[in-house]
């Protein structure tokens, strides 16, 4: 499988996710500079976390207009899977690939900690290695991860089973204590109707190696390799 990571000015999880991808794919990850207008042939596109353009104006807003994003949108619409993490989630939302918006955390503070996620949807290409209902642990690190959508959009996401991850406690219970940012309906990640475009605030690449204290995130990269190779 050939995976590519888009690099924007001040992306800062580009290397982290490339390392996690290489661990699962066993081959080098292609890094694509945001100023490019062409994408190489890729089986998976990752829009990584970070502070593209310093989060100035609105998180992800300026990056969404980078030349390469036109290509990313076109490929995504044509069926290439896209994994968008944290700032990447904000960018693809701004680019119109996923609905809703990510507002400032309810606490008004940046939050970095491990969270527990309930896998609500177990499908290819990203979550098929988890059983639906499983609770996994990976970190969040963001200032603007408070998911918002209007009632109609929310109902659509719920009705179509497009909520992929929800914040829960270690025991799997929902509630304010488990939700790190005030997200509506405890939503941590959503997908498009096909499940091929996934946006999530938590960082699977940061706990994909037991040496760092957990490897729950690794299954997402392994699943992608399994389905896209």
């Amino acid at each position: 499988m050939k995976a590519g990571v888009i690099v924007f000015p001040a992306s800062n999880c580009d290397r982290d996710v490339a390392v996690a991808l290489e661990q699962s794919t066993g081959r080098p990850t292609t890094m694509v500079w945001h100023g490019e207008t062409q994408l190489p042939a890729l089986d998976l596109i990752v829009v990584p976390g970070g502070f593209s353009y310093g989060d100035y104006l609105r998180c992800g807003a300026i990056a969404a207009h980078s030349p390469i994003m036109r290509e990313v949108v076109a490929r995504a619409r044509a069926g290439t899977p896209v994994l968008a993490i944290c700032n990447g989630f904000q960018i693809v939302q701004e680019a119109g690939l996923l609905p809703g918006a990510l507002l400032r955390n309810a606490s008004q503070r940046f939050v970095c900690r491990d969270v527990h996620l309930k896998v609500e949807r177990s499908t290819a290409p990203f979550t098929s290695r988890y059983n639906a209902g499983t609770v996994i642990r990976i970190p969040v690190a963001h200032h603007d991860g408070n998911f918002y959508a209007d009632d109609e959009t929310l109902a659509e996401l719920q009705g179509e089973g497009r909520v992929v991850f929800r914040y829960v406690t270690a025991e799997g219970a929902r509630g304010p204590a488990a939700n790190p940012n005030g997200s509506l309906d405890d939503i941590a990640g959503i997908c498009d109707p096909s499940g091929r475009i996934l946006g999530m605030m938590p960082h699977p690449e940061r706990l994909a190696d037991a040496m760092l204290g957990g490897a729950d995130g690794r299954a997402m990269f392994d699943a992608a390799v399994e389905h896209l190779s």
Binding site: L57, R58, A61, I62, H65, Q93, E94, P99, G100, A101, L103, R104, N105, A106, Q108, N146, Y148, A149, D150, G182
Partner: protein, 81 residues
């Protein structure tokens, strides 16, 4: 020519910043303070000669970049002080 653009969260979207400021003002003793909403604004210098052209361009800037239509609305003033 100059434009000033105000961008706010749409009514109905929770404004945690505004609420936090409301609380902070109350704890400073400003008990006459009611609702607080926070927004941002942009002052933009423009090279247009024509007011309508300027306004149209700024509207396009808002739609494409300056505001997020999912959660924000905007208001444009041309030649604001």
């Amino acid at each position: 020519m100059k434009a000033r653009v105000h961008v706010t969260l749409k009514p109905g979207v929770l404004d945690p910043q505004g609420r936090a400021i409301n609380h902070a003002l109350h704890s400073l003793g400003f008990d006459q303070v009611g609702d607080v909403r926070q927004g941002k604004f942009f002052d933009i210098d423009l090279g247009y000669e024509d007011r309508d052209a300027a306004e149209a361009a700024v509207k396009e800037m808002c739609d494409r970049l300056l505001a997020n239509p999912v959660v924000e609305s905007y208001a444009i003033e041309i030649d604001a002080p």
